[in-house]
Symmetry: C2
């Protein structure tokens, strides 16, 4: 693909992402996306195959951003709890860097057609499995107590995945502040330390 | 309203709730709801004023269920941390008793028309304020450490509000199990207790 075509596709994806995040996938037509881009629906089909294809590309790119940001951490020699802490920071950074993508990733993936939906779910499961593995290592190593590994993993992921609902670029907290508060609260708990 | 009309309205709301939860509010038409009920769209308007009216009624009922379930706890003489623990149990019970309502409550309220949207947001803020007040009492009383009160409140609420995404009626965990695990993890933290 020529550079300008890549650039145009990026623009199409950004606009579609924003409409899917605001109105929802089902309520957004290819015509709406074309209009927002100042194109005829027919011209838009030069860039995409279908609306499903757009959703698929948005979700694949979002998934890749999560994997790309966390891969060096997973492969590092850090102790498990430090890996988890850094993974959480990277995850929060990915979410806050593109709130529309985070919204689509959280709620619109269920509208994907098969087999894409199944593939996306598998990729999500893979990511969840990676976090779960870190949680398990933290338990084995004795940093974490004897907690329900799966439930703790879901709690960690969900505590990060709701951030797109309230985060503001110009708000008082940076992604780093948010990640630090989250890991502090989740690891140490809300209770006052005893002794 | 006669009993049969009330019963019919309940039925309409349940069907609308289920469609809004699955497809989203914007993608569901009054005709879809009528069809799912085996009615003509015209006959459905004997029960409702508009689609917005349906969403409003669904959200108002959902909000009332949260307030109704937690009111006796708020007004009780329990110590703050016990109040918060019981509120979380009641909240989880409300969510798991109607997953479609929880889904609509979490994601579709933004489609309400004004001034209903503003009123709904105010009611949500009121509920959040109630939880925040309990968190503040836990900090003041010294049960909780010196944590960010607002952030802790959002973490508690979000940790409960994602449950509708994975909870299964026939799954291994009861709402009571879920609430106990959540309060344990959030209050004590994941770290192994020292000493």
């Amino acid at each position: 693909m020529a550079d300008s075509a890549v650039q145009r596709l990026d623009e199409v994806l950004l606009v579609a992402e924003s409409l899917f995040a605001q109105r929802g996938y089902e309520a957004t037509s290819v015509r709406d996306i074309a209009e927002a881009l100042g194109l005829q629906a027919g011209s838009l089909y030069a860039h995409i195959e279908s609306k499903d294809d757009l959703l698929h590309q948005i979700l694949s790119r979002a998934a890749e951003r999560f994997f790309l940001a966390t891969k060096p951490i997973v492969e590092s020699d850090l102790v498990p709890v430090e890996k988890l802490r850094r993974l959480m920071l990277a995850h929060v950074q990915v979410i806050t860097s593109d709130l529309n993508a985070a919204a689509v990733y959280s709620t619109e993936w269920r509208h994907l057609s098969e087999p894409r939906r199944g593939e996306f779910a598998a990729r999500r499961d893979e990511y969840e499995g990676m976090v779960r593995c870190m949680v398990r290592d933290c338990i084995r190593e004795g940093t974490f107590g004897d907690v329900d590994e799966k439930f703790a993993t879901l709690l960690i992921l969900s505590s990060m995945n709701w951030i797109y609902q309230w985060y503001k670029d110009d708000g008082p907290m940076t992604p780093e502040d948010i990640a630090r508060k989250l890991t502090d609260m989740l690891f140490k708990g809300l209770r006052r330390p005893v002794g």
